[in-house]
Symmetry: D2
């Protein structure tokens, strides 16, 4: 078979591992030819591609990022976009396309399958772990580990100076990274988008901690967390937005820059104002996206890449691969496009609560 | 409730996270009193213990090892051992014991429940991931990451010198660590106890790799892997042993020292003899057991520790906690004592095979 | 001897290693008694202290932060501060004080030696490496490694999205961290306080890179770097300030919060505006201060701690320990209080320039 | 100029950073042409080479190993070897050769300069840090960090099981790695080739530790350390060898395999025999050579690579680059060929002794 591969949306540790697995599996097991379309759907729209062979995929397993580039280009926003994608598919004599991406990329894949009959297999990808259908996505484990390493570092400096440190992690709509890194890092508070937080209660708990002899606190907050009361324009600025991936522009300035950190700075100011305890902010930002994937993510991404090739050869299109109970399965892409998988709040209420009290 | 905690068998990253979670959850949610028995069942046999309170558990989340010590002491090997354990339970006015350990420790727990009615909840622990009933055990993720980091390092030195490097990892009866670190590290061969290996075939594949321009190979081998042919006393020396945990004495010298590395040195010698390619051995050994747990293991261990306390308060004894499809469940301890969970060989045949061909 | 120890100023990886070394060396070699004054000079001002013995110093070698706390309290800003310090010295029957800190802490030490005859030995400490007299200070190596790890991660995400990423590191007055992490991370630009940067030239070089097929750039900028032209209030806001340690308030808001990132956000905006290339900002912040010290810093801090005890026993007061050409030496504290050690710009012009052209 | 580059001897983190720095500096500053001879002197002997340009050097800064391969081939052991090297130099129209290697590689360079007038600049390289003339060599910092990370891991498992763990690190003739990683890891004993150790005294100190309530010990031993008494064939087997690099064959088996670990296993057995305390061995081996260099080594290697190009353009041949008091200098290659730089034992006697008592 001749199979195209593309990566769309924000990058994520493990993309190269998926590419490598699909390429080597395809070539070794089926003598497939693999073509990498550059910068996501843009590559199929414009017909720009690179050849992917075994040599090209050497040494990329431990590399972060994606060797074929990524973008947020959506063919449905372009004049005759779907038709141009279909034309590329035909002109290149393709039998299938493997689309690696998040909700947006997979949504485009499903619509292209419907509208122009694109033979596509999806591989779900999100740092945030909020795609329905799969227990976990690659990249999430790496992001949590990177955040936990940072929290370990912040804890010691918080303790030395008896400070509150607010550490903002990715997660605009889902608190998975905040919850896992918060539990792993022994955070005093974990604040997530799924549940508005009460600044008054947080301050009370911090003061109670201090009265018990714990003179420092690390608060892990997802970038999409919001306060209960709407008493502040910083807080309200983040509301009402449609669903976006991590790190993508919420409130933006004139250059389209995301303005991360608004909620964290607001929170730190409120805590310092109300409790008198020195508070500082650290926003982890893009370091969570980059770098070498953990062993867990390399294995998961490799399994996804192999299964995607199998799905192509089974003609099992408009599906995506997923992890369920330790097994790789295939599901309709539509599964991923239903409601986002919000975080398991019992992890805060039953597990983390024990440590936050 | 008054609850005892003990850790038995080989140590494992995450033990302290379980202890901390049980202690803080018990105290915070139920005003429990927690007592740590030192060095596994030995502590209950001899009545030696330490008080576990919130202060003692500060800062131990990121620490490897176990603050209450561990040993392989088995009460059933001691004069009136079960009776002495029961006496300690009564004398300390305990309501429950949380036993954190592998097959041996949990087996003792189940037998004590039967013989002297010990009210015990088990928490499964093994680096090797070969306990039935739970999808994964804490410590495994850390061991795989440590092994993968080492393989990443070994690869560059293998490439510089055009060598074969044989990297021996833990796993006397199960190849989980070898398979996961082998896939994550991009190994050329993965050899596991579940499937005897054919040295002739390995040499052929290595020579084929070299003929294709790949002049180095990292072979990941579990310590319990054995060759197909029994043509060598090194190989056969490891056979016929009853089930043992990782790193525990197989062939031993006069001091009871484990003699690790026999199979790896044998393999490297055979490869060098048959192919003429320079071959070296690295045995990772105890570094796989130690050090700070990964974020994944900290979260899993914390969830286990919290659930163990809940099981105690539900009077749900002779059970153990386990992970299934992302949820923490309780199972009869007997589940863990059935056949060991051997590794998923499809990961070698379907996934890794693509990269080894 | 009875010796007091205190740590002042911003925390820094290796403080605990100094404390441990002084305590164990003092006790083992000389049967000294060691007293830790809490939170820097504040502890001597208020007479608050903890006993430091071998047991207390177990396990602290790999820990970031300082177990005796730190603050920026200056006795000379308090009513009869120097007198109160001298009174504590006498009341505790001390023979010497080891003061571990940066320019401020050491400056106070020297003034106290002059004004009230305090018998003090200094140990220089700064993340920023800008203390004169010593080739390098502990903490610097760890900060550079942490920054380099982050840059490694940022590079892959920059490449995937063909972006410019501006990475702000510590260094308000000196560019040591920026230069070393920039060279180690292969940065496209390194901007330091010692040399105002020309935004126009930076944009030209970035466009030249892009025209040569390099579609991403990581720019490492010290927090204290400033642009040549004063065409912007963001840029000018940081000017004119007296000397401050890293991460300390420059422009501050109503709560005294440092407003880090002003210069980086300004630079990213300018680059995006002038070149049209998507630009993002990451501010590493306090993670550079915390966490386990590198092996290099543990060894250096340990040597400093041992030598400080020797200086006490030699009666060699009003000196500080330092590293010169691989040897630990003693110098008058005044050496550290002369002009700050600015970064070696030849590292940018001769070394890094090769890679930036 | 047309400049050849080669890497000889055991590989070492930072080799690629030197190559990259020389290539990019040469091309950018002087429009040099750079040629990489493969596998050390073998490449010049046989005329095998690869072109080194900016593109080839992208992304190699963080990579361990050497992209041009290495070997121990010595032209003086080959029929008309020096003549063939000179012929290659002439045939390729070279103006200079940069030889990156240890005592052997640099020794060959100096002899070739004398015998056939080779215009050569040396860059010293050794994991072991035992080359005279330079304060430190790249690779050493990475090896020490890798060993320290392992010791951190071993400590927790030693503590959990109240064991002695003997950790063998590289260093056949010099104890630099053992001393630095031993101090950084808080080892109970540090044993080096420069000073035979007394097993009886070690056992006494360990028993004294245990009597004081410290129930575990990590002993760091260089592979070349030897016991005082010659009462054992294991110990004596390692004697009498001429100078060798780390990890190179000492006692070898029939396949020329190094037999590492003899001295460590012997020591562990003796300790267990004499004290009754369970003892285990871990031999770090080749992981110390591989993997990504630390920031420190990347900067040092980059500075060396840049300076080597400057030396070529200054016609400053038969010199090598070196680090002295923070500056890069040039010295006659002969400096490196004098007596090896043995470790600073005052670090054991004055610094570490405090912690070993």
């Amino acid at each position: 078979m001749r199979i195209g591969i593309l990566t769309g949306g924000g990058d994520c540790p493990g993309l190269n591992a998926v590419i490598r697995a699909s390429v080597i599996k395809g070539i070794t097991a089926y003598k497939d030819e693999l073509i990498g379309f550059t910068d996501g759907w843009k590559g199929m729209l414009e017909g720009t591609s690179v050849t992917l062979d075994v040599e090209r995929c050497r040494d990329i397993l431990p590399m972060g990022g994606t060797i074929i580039g990524s973008s947020r280009t959506n063919p449905f926003s372009h004049q005759d976009g779907p038709g141009r994608v279909a034309a590329t598919f035909a002109a290149r004599d393709l039998d299938a396309v493997i689309a690696i991406g998040g909700e947006d990329t997979l949504g485009v894949a499903a619509r292209l399958a419907d509208s122009v009959g694109l033979q596509v297999v999806g591989v779900p990808k999100t740092i945030d772990n909020d795609i329905a259908g799969t227990e976990v996505t690659f990249g999430f484990n790496t992001a949590v580990q990177t955040a936990t390493d940072a929290i370990d570092r912040l804890r010691t400096t918080a303790e030395s100076h008896h400070r509150v440190i607010v550490c903002e992690v990715m997660g605009r709509n889902a608190g998975w990274i905040a919850i896992h890194s918060g539990i792993a890092g022994g955070a005093a508070e974990i604040l997530v988008p799924e549940e508005p937080f009460d600044i008054g209660e947080i301050c009370e708990r911090i003061e109670r901690r201090h009265s018990r002899g714990l003179f420092s606190s690390v608060i892990v907050i997802a970038e999409g967390a919001v306060p209960l009361e709407n008493d502040d324009d910083v807080a309200s600025a983040d509301h009402g937005a449609s669903r976006r991936g991590s790190g993508e522009p919420a409130a933006t300035d004139q250059f389209g820059h995301e303005r991360l950190g608004g909620i964290s700075n607001f929170l730190a100011e409120q805590i310092e104002l109300r409790t008198g305890i020195e508070s500082r902010v650290t926003i982890l930002g893009h370091v969570q996206r980059g770098g070498t994937p953990t062993a867990f993510d390399r294995v998961l991404a490799t399994r996804f890449g192999v299964e995607a090739i199998e799905a192509c050869h089974d003609g099992d299109f408009k599906t995506m691969v997923a992890l369920q109970a330790g097994k790789i399965v295939r599901l309709p892409i539509a599964t991923a496009l239903s409601a986002p998988k919000t975080a398991d709040l019992s992890l805060i209420h039953d597990v983390a609560a024990a440590f936050l009290g």
